[in-house]
Amino acid sequence: MITIAGAGLAGLSSALELARRGAAVRVFEANPSIGAGSVSRFAGGMLAPWCERESADEAVVTLGAQAADWWGRITQVSRLGTLVVAPTRDSAELTRFSRRTSAHRAVDQAEITTLEPALAGRFSHGLLYEQEAHLNPRMALLDLAKAVKDLGVEIVLGTKAPAQVDLDCTGASASVTDLRFVRGEMAILSCPEVAINRTVRLLHPRIPLYVVPRGEGVYMIGATMVESTSTRPPTLRSLSELFNAAFTLNPAFAEAAVIETGAGLRPAFPDNLPRLVKNDGRLHFNGLYRHGFLLAPALAVQAAQLILSETSHANHRQSNTANH
């Protein structure tokens, strides 16, 4: 039996990969329900490795390129790509973004209008990342839990993991060297007047914004990046900047209902890339930073392979001992 602490993204995706390889798995989750304690509930749910490459390491592309396929087997994934636009005043931002990323093509005003009629006439140039996708994080986590259970994995809710586990996926609660936290603030808007189909990123020198459609006129907008462990609600400054940026995208957002605002702490290592590390005699899977849905699949595969190879070695040693 392989035991995992934490039924968030890291824990559940690892459980799935272990179970797919035939392992018996039990996952402990201290919170009473799936997703309640997971920072992924504040995520955008973008599967956008090529856009992220603008400020992230190449590993984000190599590890994240297959994420949309992985999630497509588990939950609903919208594969309409990402549209990146900038106000005319900030067109230099678009040039820079284009230079520093790949797998995109330029789109003009006419094509932007075809792709996203809600943005008609507002932006003369943009970039389309056709291979990118997005999902609904909260639904995806529940669908992942269901997929895991369907493979016979036991998820024990409301129960702290025992002292000895094979894999620690407790994120912010874990004790791992070099882990820090990057605060992110987001909001969820209901605005049926605006119909946006795909993830839209608005470039801005100060407040880059992304809008991720959740369907039925609901949008997630985010997200700030603050080097802080504060979990207090979003600040007025952050929200007013996010809302202002949304307003730039389409003035009809002014009439949106703010359904929810929230702030989450993203665990991160100094290079902002996730890691599998041995610490205190257990394997930790942590540091997903702002790339949880994007990188969890690739790291889960690595974690499963690592755990199973070590377990089989241990079994092999045991049987050798028994023979002698």
Binding site: S55, D57, R180, V226, E227, T229, D271
Partner: protein, 255 residues
């Protein structure tokens, strides 16, 4: 070169915001060969919740110059400075009092007032100011022993928009350390600041937002070396008439 009696060998003061990751920042700090790094203390982190990132900075082993970035009033800047002193255990403070949200131009009136309050409280103030001589004098009167005139608006990368004003400042304040703060976009801007006789430059975005921050940090360090050496070596003056660089006397007689 000394700032408030502290010997500083590098002419680069490096900002620590907006890097792709702390790991890249650490490498950039090394390549920049800087002695001083600036850290902004924001409301979001004032309760000590930025500790993880600060620990990484302390590990870099550089002298920390906390700043009051984003403050818009005397009271806000003074409070932020007091919190910074407690957290970073230093009397140094880079004083920013922003007067205009779009240009991020300093509010020089509030700046002078905040400098006076903080100097009286024992702070050693590094004021982010304009290139105005009279403001410079008022800041010195308020207790500042360093001036940090802007080259261009923060984060604009426009270089030195008014080199004549900086030259005048150098002549007007021959014995005050002058640090060009803000506006540096490229290594050539840093060279120009050195050639104008500035003592140092403070920059952040030019390195952090370049395609390769580590390489750009190195480029900036080299630029400062080149610019300073160029100044000390007493460069030739410009002139209108061409002067052959090879002797014209005693030319070979060809037949």
């Amino acid at each position: 070169m000394q700032f408030y009696g502290v010997d500083v060998s590098s002419r680069l003061l490096l900002g620590t915001a907006q890097y792709p990751s702390p790991a890249v920042l650490s490498e950039a700090i090394v390549e920049s060969r800087c002695d001083v790094v600036t850290v902004s203390l924001r409301r979001e982190t004032s309760d000590g919740t930025g500790a993880g990132f600060w620990d990484l900075l302390r590990e870099a082993g550089k002298r920390i110059l906390p700043n009051t970035a984003g403050c818009h009033s005397v009271a806000e800047a003074v409070t932020t400075a007091q919190m910074a002193r407690e957290i970073f255990e230093t009397n140094w403070i880079k004083l920013e009092v922003i007067g205009h949200a779009d240009t991020l131009a300093p509010d020089v009136f509030a700046l002078v007032e905040a400098a006076r309050v903080l100097s009286a409280e024992g702070f050693q103030v590094f004021p982010y100011t304009t290139d105005d001589l009279i403001v410079g004098e008022k800041l010195l009167d308020a207790g500042c022993e360093v001036l940090m005139p802007w080259g261009a608006p923060i984060g604009s990368g426009q270089g030195l928009r008014n080199p004549d004003a900086l030259r005048a400042m150098r002549a007007h304040f021959p014995n005050v350390p002058l640090i060009v703060d803000a506006g540096i976009g490229r290594p050539s801007d840093a060279v120009q600041a050195m050639e104008l006789g500035m003592d140092a430059v403070l920059l952040n975005t030019a390195v952090a937002k370049s395609g390769d921050p580590v390489l750009m940090a190195r480029a900036m360090a080299l630029a400062l070396d080149a610019g300073r050496a160029g100044l000390v070596a007493d460069p030739m003056d410009r002139r209108d008439m061409a002067v052959p660089s090879t002797p014209t006397l005693g030319m070979a007689e060809l037949g």
